[in-house]
Point group: C2
């Protein structure tokens, strides 16, 4: 029941196949936008819940700011940017009216409105009103929202014109406190990625040329996809006083002086769902880590003839309620009986393609023997995929079974990340040669082009060289050797360790 | 510490005063839109959580559909509407570029996009792809989203250009099942309004002239505000096959025939926050029902001199952790110590204006006596506002104290709803006379114009009469006497009981 395209055969097509086989999302008739179907949105809800809890635990509160930003707010920013041009959705009219049997835009606005691509400017505007004294600081807020960027090559979950995200914004009295905040939130992102999404990441910061405009430092987490490319999974910006100065966020200090606040902003988006697919899915479909699976266990009743229907349904329902009383990751197990009017084989494959962690099949023979037939999604294509387990043992150990599954997903991905970081490349020639290879699936036989960890001399001219090689510096990782070596782009002496890779 | 405007003095101004005194929201520099501040958004999050749980319990799953709807989708609808004109935000361009030092819209779209005012059309488009067979039915989904309607007279929470809501959309194989669904969801709304928001409502349906366009029936819940006006707090539409026909949502029945599905849609919005204010707030500020209060208990340490600081903070922290281990409404108590650098009197008043259900003040004298000074928000201006309670008693009975508070809010509002429904008006003249009175606060001495329960003859000409009187039929309530009487607008014989009122 392998997907039409495997990772090795055609990786980009395989990615699309997973999404449609798992019913996670679809292209919309609204150009460049997508529909999140229940299984895809359910995963997002779980990510939201886990991250939202952490955001609140670290002292932030949620807010909501308008989706429309007056054009004049961008003018200020544009004044500092050579050749400013931004792909954004612009609202120019406020009424639809009928003219000669056709609907046309009417009610032209005095000032066009931009559908938010991010909210720094409009939130800074509120901050400047809220903050008067050091007593009002810190201000630590977050919002969950939709944002729009006019992407020309949309791809489901990874890059769509509208996407979902959270954006945190904070203001502090001191440089140190704000810098610490930006780092703390990067830590929160890394922890959620690793402990909840089972996705190992490299923590670091962006090189100067790739920082968020106006940021003093942009911190990021980078994850390795199964084709060896890097996906930026979250960013946290320390903005210094730059935004405070342009939005006039000032406060009276304890000493009575007027000071500009120090601000941060940080965000993760629904592209995390794309990164989950490319971290965990296989050639049979999606694989969802238990902590974020909308259903952790699905029970499929097998009714061979009508006479056994009642007893099988009773057994399935009892199993379901016994499991739903058990806890995993601080919450009750998410389990249901699939009672739809479809064949049990179709149901089993449907849940397998969706990547439900555990599918149980129960029929009349299982009742006699007081057992359950358990299919563990991660063990597909091994002899352990199907296991017959005594009913009580299965119920009592469900939590540790899910935890094992969660850990095994992390470990496989962690091994991939470690195994595919070349550190033995020493010259610009070797580097060029390495990235000129055709790439496909890093776990498979073909192509192994993935991350290179090596030196960078920080020369601005290297940016052009990387463009030619279709790579970029993904981050300057936290763990630096601090030893001298040769820059992998110029062969010049250099100390900084960086991660070079292709990226999404 | 009464607000600048009381309900009696100036009700509309009082409403604005509550919002700003409680820091719930503010006017934004984005025209007609608003900022939800943490206390306002925190209330919305609690409403969302309670409603979302119910939506899921009743078999629905969450999805997400694009914010932009192609203009052509509205053309279809407009073909059936005389003089179609709708106030909506229209995106016409996709790029901002610099011309002569000024940013201007560029990249004109081939087809303008509408920022969703509601999502029936775009969701029906997906339904038509998802639904092929009776086996695919029912489809029962919901989305939490922002929507935009170009309101010309915005009012915080009640009517803003952008607002937040949930919209449920379902498709069913039969008339009966879809009609039952629409009624079930009205029941869910009524239950959340009454049991969570402590806001009594009247369940009913809209008269023919006020139904959602294309609906067979529009069910609604109506609540009485403190000025006697009615606020529509939720609607549920049974759409029959109308939307299925225009979007071609068809399925193969068990018998092999092609049938149109029956659909429903239902929604509540962030205006519920406005209705909460006008149900529970008083002349001192907001009053939040415990079930949706972002903080249920706030502890204010009173430190008269530095030497007692440590012991007072220790006592406050211990009280906080003891309370946070207790449960109310299935969740741990939301409690915090207010450690900000402000005077304790300022803090107490700030939390009072925000409407935190319980504010505790603890100082060194309380430690000696092992007591807590408890202020119960609902008891302000009575001798019971401040109570000194033994520490352990307070901790052990916190849950029932919050429950009493929740119930008392409901009971006060329920009494208001019952006391201000006139049923003794018998003629068109009396009716006209009644609604010609100046209105203010129904609980107060002045003005008592509120709801009238009486007969309606269903004559379409009555709509104009109601407009003149600035009233409308809020709903045809579920409980009908089925006895004949005189229509309150025409004096003609009529059987139908309706609720007449001014409205928001």
């Amino acid at each position: 029941m392998t997907l039409q395209n495997t990772r090795e055969k055609n990786y980009p097509e395989w990615y699309q196949n997973v999404i449609s086989a798992a019913d996670m999302g679809e292209v919309s008739s609204s150009p460049g936008c997508m529909v999140f179907r229940p299984w895809g949105y359910g995963i997002w809800e779980r990510i939201q819940r886990a991250l939202d809890n952490k955001i609140k635990e670290t002292g932030h509160e949620n807010c909501y700011f308008p989706i429309f930003i007056p054009l004049s707010y961008f003018q200020k920013e544009a004044n500092h940017v050579e050749g400013f041009a931004k792909e954004m959705a612009i609202v120019t009219h406020s009424r639809l009216t009928m003219k000669d049997g056709k609907l046309v835009p009417d009610g032209k606005l005095e000032e066009p409105l931009i559908v938010r691509p991010t909210s720094e400017t409009i939130i800074a505007d509120s901050f400047s009103k809220w903050i008067k004294s050091y007593r009002d600081l810190p201000v630590m807020i977050n919002q969950w929202a939709n944002v729009v960027r006019w992407e020309m090559r949309p791809r489901l979950f990874l890059r769509t014109r509208e996407f979902l995200w959270q954006e945190g914004h904070t203001a502090h009295a001191t440089f140190e406190e704000a810098e610490k905040e930006a780092k703390t939130m990067l830590g929160v992102y890394a922890s959620v990625a690793q402990n909840v999404l089972a996705m190992p990441v490299i923590k670091g910061k962006k090189p100067e040329y790739d920082k968020f405009p106006g940021a003093v430092d942009t911190y990021c987490i980078e994850a390795m996809m199964q084709d060896g490319r890097s996906l930026q999974a979250g960013t946290s910006h320390f903005l210094g006083q730059n935004f405070a100065k342009s939005a006039n966020i000032r406060f009276q200090s304890k000493e009575g002086t007027q000071e500009y606040a120090y601000t941060t902003s940080w965000g993760v988006t629904s592209r995390l769902i794309g990164s989950l697919i490319m971290t965990h899915a296989d050639d049979e479909g999606m694989v969802v880590p238990p902590k974020i699976a909308p259903q952790q266990v699905v029970i499929v009743p097998i009714i061979k003839d009508k006479s056994t229907q009642n007893e099988v349904m009773l057994y399935a329902t009892k199993l379901c309620s016994a499991l739903s009383e058990k806890f995993y990751d601080g919450e009750k197990i998410r389990v249901k009986v699939d009672t739809r009017d479809k064949s049990s084989v179709d149901k089993m494959w449907e849940w397998t393609r969706k990547g439900a962690p555990i599918v149980c099949e129960v029929g009349s023979r299982d009742i006699e023997n007081e057992v359950v037939m358990v299919r563990t999604r991660t063990k597909i294509n091994t002899s352990e995929w199907k296991q017959i387990i005594p009913l009580n043992e299965f119920i009592n150990l469900i939590s540790s079974r899910l935890e094992d599954l969660q850990n095994s997903l992390f470990n496989v991905a962690k091994k991939r990340l470690l195994d595919n970081q070349r550190t033995d490349i020493k010259t610009a020639e070797e580097m060029k040669d390495y990235f000129s290879q055709q790439n496909s699936w890093v776990d498979g036989a073909k192509g192994k082009v993935a991350f290179v960890r090596g030196k960078w001399c920080e020369d601005p001219a290297t940016v052009e060289k990387m463009k030619e090689m279709k790579i970029s510096i993904r981050c300057i990782p936290e763990d630096q050797t601090k030893k001298e070596g040769n820059c992998l782009l110029t062969n010049k002496k250099a100390v900084l360790d960086v991660i070079y890779a292709r990226s999404y």
